[in-house]
């Protein structure tokens, strides 16, 4: 008799501890759902400019304004998506275009007509003006190069 009572007592205890666990899990689940519902719009709100920039970076082709007017042995800075880019008109009438973001630490390099090279003043990195190859200083990689098409007085730069 007393044994019976004991077993029924312990199953009741088991059921109530099960109920307790269930309630705990349910409460945590509902809490997480709430946190997600509140957190999602806040995240999208804060990340809004990041998303906008990412969609602007999808650009594959840019017409360089007044590009055709660029004299020989000179460079013109323009915007490719959200980033700075550089168009160079060489002495031999060939053209090059690069993403003007130094591969070392992200400074914007400049074309030096005297030395006919691309130079980054931040840490004295040097790139070849025709190929973009990193030839001196700390840059670990060449500058990403674009394709340049010159026709009908228009200069169109596109991803290689």
């Amino acid at each position: 008799m007393s044994e019976n009572q004991n077993t029924s007592g312990s199953t009741e205890q088991g059921a109530s501890s099960e109920r307790r666990t269930f309630l705990k899990v349910a409460a945590c689940g509902v809490g997480a759902a709430w946190a997600g519902m509140v957190g999602y719009p806040i995240y999208r709100y804060i990340a809004s400019p990041v998303e906008e920039a990412a969609s602007a970076d999808v650009v594959t082709e840019v017409e360089v304004e007044k590009g055709a007017e660029l004299p020989k042995n000179a460079a013109l800075m323009f915007k490719f998506g959200t980033k700075p880019a550089m168009l160079i008109h060489h002495d031999d009438d060939t053209w090059s275009a690069f993403l003007a973001v130094c591969t070392h630490l992200g400074c914007t390099p400049a074309y030096q007509p005297e030395e006919k090279r691309i130079f980054c003043p931040c840490h004295s990195g040097v790139y070849d003006a025709h190929s973009g190859a990193n030839v001196a200083g700390p840059p670990p990689k060449p500058l990403p190069q674009f394709k340049v098409a010159v026709a009908d007085g228009k200069v169109v730069v596109s991803r290689a």
Binding site: W34, P41, I42, R44, Y45, I46, A47, S48, E51, E52
Partner: protein, 365 residues
């Protein structure tokens, strides 16, 4: 609770931060439980909306630009930034709900006579908090610089301007000139996000600290019962969980209102355009707006304006000083008179507010 943290970590923190007395207090604290307990939650509801406003206010700061481009930046928040309309709508709605909850809290403490000794400073700090909240509302209303914001601020600032001698001088200083310009926006912005929070938060901490010091006030009907018959519930966890449940309801109401009725943005303010026909202040200024208008109608000229302002300010001063002329339970006859005064104030506020909305011309926006 602390055991689960790991007794070593807890005792390390306790030695340095003195957690035990705080924890003991929180576990020992009890909250009275009686048929008027419902009203105890309204201070907490007000606090909840204030916290929501702090968070959404910081989020709005990410994109809002005071000055000349203010309208364009709010337009950008409303149309371009993901969920920007929602953040702005929640900020505006919780501002209104906070003032509403504060009014409920104030009148419930008034009628339960919770301002009596030793809680006078709770009443006064609460009075200061509500006053600051209304200045928060007034200054925040201008920031989007749409047409309603522009004209409501214009009218609002013409009220201190009728004060003799110093009035126009004060109004000019607040506006940064005789007209509402980008200077006014920058001034209101500084007020709204720096000066007011710097005043509000310490006063709020004082208010909350005093509640801990004196405990919840109990109404007269409870005070008459012998101590053994008074019921109470533990602060932790019972009251805290109830409070959290109420906050969840408040959050739901806020979310529903903000999504179903997104806060509008009118056309950009144009100083040369005539005021919109239905120009009116926020609802919590409607009563004072209508009292001024009514007195202006009864007594034409400056006399009417002066009498209206005097009537309203006399009411506000009497209201603030109520703990002084109804100091304790022994003030029987006075106690009943003060209760009647409360009913009259409530009636005047409600009637003039409804009156104010009733006489607005219907304009489709």
């Amino acid at each position: 609770m602390p055991e689960s943290l790991g007794p070593k970590v807890y005792s390390w923190l306790d030695e340095r931060l003195g957690l035990s007395p705080i924890l003991e207090l929180a576990l020992k604290k009890r909250v009275p439980d009686h048929k008027h307990s419902f009203w105890y939650y309204w201070g907490g509801i007000t606090l909840f909306f204030f916290i929501v406003m702090c968070f959404t206010g910081v989020l709005l700061l990410l994109y809002y630009r005071p000055g000349d481009g203010a309208y364009e930046s709010v337009q950008q928040i409303n149309t371009q930034i993901k969920f920007g309309w929602l953040i702005r709508s929640i900020h505006s709605w919780s501002a209104n709900l906070m003032v509403a909850a504060a009014f409920v809290h104030m009148f419930s403490t008034f009628f339960m006579k919770a301002y009596r000794a030793p809680r006078e400073f709770l009443w006064w700090s609460g009075f200061g908090l509500l006053s600051l909240a209304m200045v928060f509302g007034f200054s925040g209303y201008l920031l989007p610089m749409d047409d309603l914001a522009y004209f409501a601020t214009k009218v609002g600032l013409s009220i201190p301007a009728v004060m003799p001698v110093v009035g126009p001088w004060i109004a000019d200083l607040v506006r940064g000139g005789p007209d509402i310009t980008a200077y006014t926006i920058s001034r209101f912005f500084a007020l709204h996000v720096v000066i007011l929070p710097a005043l509000f938060i310490p006063l709020l901490l004082l208010h909350l600290g005093l509640v801990q010091q004196h405990g919840m006030s109990i109404p007269e009907s409870e005070q008459q019962k012998p101590e053994a018959e008074r019921k109470s519930i533990p602060f932790f966890p019972n009251f805290v969980f109830k409070d959290l449940a109420v906050w969840l309801v408040a959050l739901n109401v806020l979310a529903l209102l903000a999504v179903a009725f997104p806060w509008p943005l009118g056309p950009a303010a144009d100083p040369l355009a005539p005021a919109p026909a239905d120009i009116h202040p926020e609802w919590y200024f409607m009563s004072s707006f209508q009292i001024l208008k009514a007195f202006g109608g009864w007594f034409p000229g400056v006399v009417g304006e002066f009498l209206g302002i005097a009537f309203f300010n006399a009411g506000v001063v009497l209201w603030a000083l109520v703990p002084l002329f109804d100091p304790n339970t022994k003030s029987g006859q006075w106690g009943r008179r003060v209760t009647w005064f409360g009913f009259v104030v409530l009636a005047v506020l409600i009637v003039t507010t409804i009156w104010g909305y009733a006489v607005l011309p219907a304009v489709a926006h």
